[in-house]
């Protein structure tokens, strides 16, 4: 099918510089990466390394200072309904009912009311939220809100779903449930996903591929394919392959987090307990 080839993100040699209060902050530098059509790709890296910046480039909220970002071969110019975005903060419109929230994108496209309603009901049914279609967002739990957020982003049938730590605010049990719901939905919709997380297990469980970023300015430090078969099940998280990947990624992240902290603390580093955290990691003090 021809539109199964859609949803290809290609980023080449991208750099983003922010100007704030007279200083320049280079958030990402020389990043090249891609998401193939229908692929689930995660982005992990230390805090402040530019993951959100990268996602905002693809969403069209931020302009690149150098390099290119393309969707299906066309440069990304601004936000659009061909890319669904799920934010870390709950971003539901509090004045709209759950169903009206899901309908929002279709309403903007001028889809007639009856078609919007039935589309929204179908999606809410998939997310197990049909019983709550007339509730307001403030009447929902965090996990339910985020499910509505995902379904709302899917309603306009985007080719790409961009998710910036969507489960970051949820407790760990809800998180596990949400991960399973997300893989299920992703398998039904077969769209490309670019997913940001701090959680290594989450990244492995969900992704086909994982990009690890360096501390700021963010570069791609490693690209790791996840060889686990689909569909993923919670039991897989105990498999040797999974555990080994976790170790590998942890080591990579640890290096970068230490480097990030070290450079933030300048040359002095962080000292205490007889060790020093510097740009090269934890060192014994002499």
């Amino acid at each position: 099918m021809s539109d199964e080839r859609k949803g290809w993100i290609q980023i080449d040699d991208l750099a983003v510089t922010f100007h704030a209060n007279g200083t320049e902050v280079r958030a990402v530098d020389g990043v090249s990466m891609n998401v193939q059509p229908g692929e689930f790709v995660s982005l992990i890296g230390p805090s402040g390394c530019g993951k959100s910046t990268l996602l905002n480039i693809v969403a069209g909220f931020v302009q690149a200072s150098a390099g290119s970002a393309e969707l299906d071969g066309k440069p990304i110019k601004g936000p659009g309904s061909d890319r669904g975005v799920v934010f870390q903060q709950y971003s539901l419109f509090p004045w709209l009912s759950v169903r009206k929230n899901v309908e929002f994108g279709l309403r903007m496209q001028g889809v007639p009311r009856s078609r919007r309603e039935s589309a929204a009901r179908t999606l809410l049914g998939l997310a197990g939220l049909l019983a709550f279609e007339n509730h307001y967002p403030d009447q929902l739990s965090g996990g339910m809100k985020q499910r509505v957020g995902i379904v709302r982003a899917l309603a306009t049938s985007p080719q790409v779903l961009l998710m910036d730590e969507p489960f970051g605010a949820l407790d760990s049990q809800t998180r596990v449930v949400m991960q399973e719901i997300l893989t299920n939905m992703w398998q039904q919709f077969r769209i490309s996903v670019l997913f940001i997380t701090h959680d290594i297990e989450e990244a492995i469980f969900l992704s086909d591929r994982i990009y690890v970023m360096t501390a700021r300015p963010g570069r791609i430090k490693a690209e790791i394919a996840v060889p686990l078969p689909r569909p993923r099940t919670p039991e897989m998280t105990a498999s040797p392959a999974f555990v080994e990947l976790v170790q590998q990624l942890k080591a990579l992240i640890r290096e970068e987090s230490l480097a990030a902290m070290g450079s933030e603390l300048k040359d002095g580093g962080l000292t205490g307990f007889g060790v020093k955290v510097g740009p090269h990691g934890v060192e014994e003090m002499v």
Partner: protein, 326 residues
Amino acid sequence: MTMRALLRQDHETPPHDPASSGHGATTAAHAEQADGVVMTGSPTTRSSAAPSAVLAVRSSGAMLWLRSNAFSMLLWAISIGSLLLFWYLGTKYRWEFYMRFTNVPTPGEVLGKVAEVSQSTRFLTHIGISVQRILIGFIIAASIGIPLGLLVGRYRAARDLVMPIIEVLRPIPAIAWVPMAIMLWPTNEVSIVFITFLGSFFPILLNTVHGVRSLDGVLIRAARCLGAGELRLFVNVMLPGVLPHIFTGLSVGMGVAWVSLIAAEMISGQFGVGYFTWEAYSLVSYPEIGLGMITIGLLGLGCSGAIQLIGSAIMPWLVHSNAGKR
């Protein structure tokens, strides 16, 4: 399917769903029905166990309301009662301790005036004219202040263009505008409406601007990537998102509108409750002063109440969000 089984977990904790606590996690259809009953509040159209549960909840809800509000109502009664008592005692014993109650009309005299003025339509005409002036000035203020506030809040250029004028004019109290208004406008009537407009315009505008500035940016971004253009953004996101602030502005604006109106009527009116009150003073008809003042208070109260009612009618989502935050 595991997904469905997992999804069901959340059904145990829908807020405002009284049925779920009794029945636990059941089928989605059941949960939906129970919700429907609560949302529509019509137990008769639904079947089986749900109605009795709802009735129980409703009657206990009424009890709860009474219990949690009885104390408030008692305090309200004490509050108003002590004001009336103070007035009554002051005029009965003609207190003179720096404050002088010598000429203040008694509650009985004012009550007598109420009976007297209700004989003719003269007093009602005063009220009608004041209310009409308020409505015209207020509606014009809202229909300019709200859109302008949205623009000023959203666009820096609009802000830089409009705010200096606002900041210069705002500190001038409405009463100081009276001479200028009389010069500016062809009739007294128009100048009084203009002063009423001015009084309510600034609070409405500034609250709207503040609302836009404090609107969560993620909502704008969410709307934009759902395909909302600039016009849609105004109508479908900013306007409803700012509505709570707008209503704060309308409430405050209504209060200031009355203050301004009464001042204007006292100085340049020929009709209106403000004029009535001032005329009573000139004619040494003290009970009418009391009547005028109480009327102004009640009219202001009624207008603010109307705004609050309209507000909660068009912002039903706030009921739910406030219930959880208390």
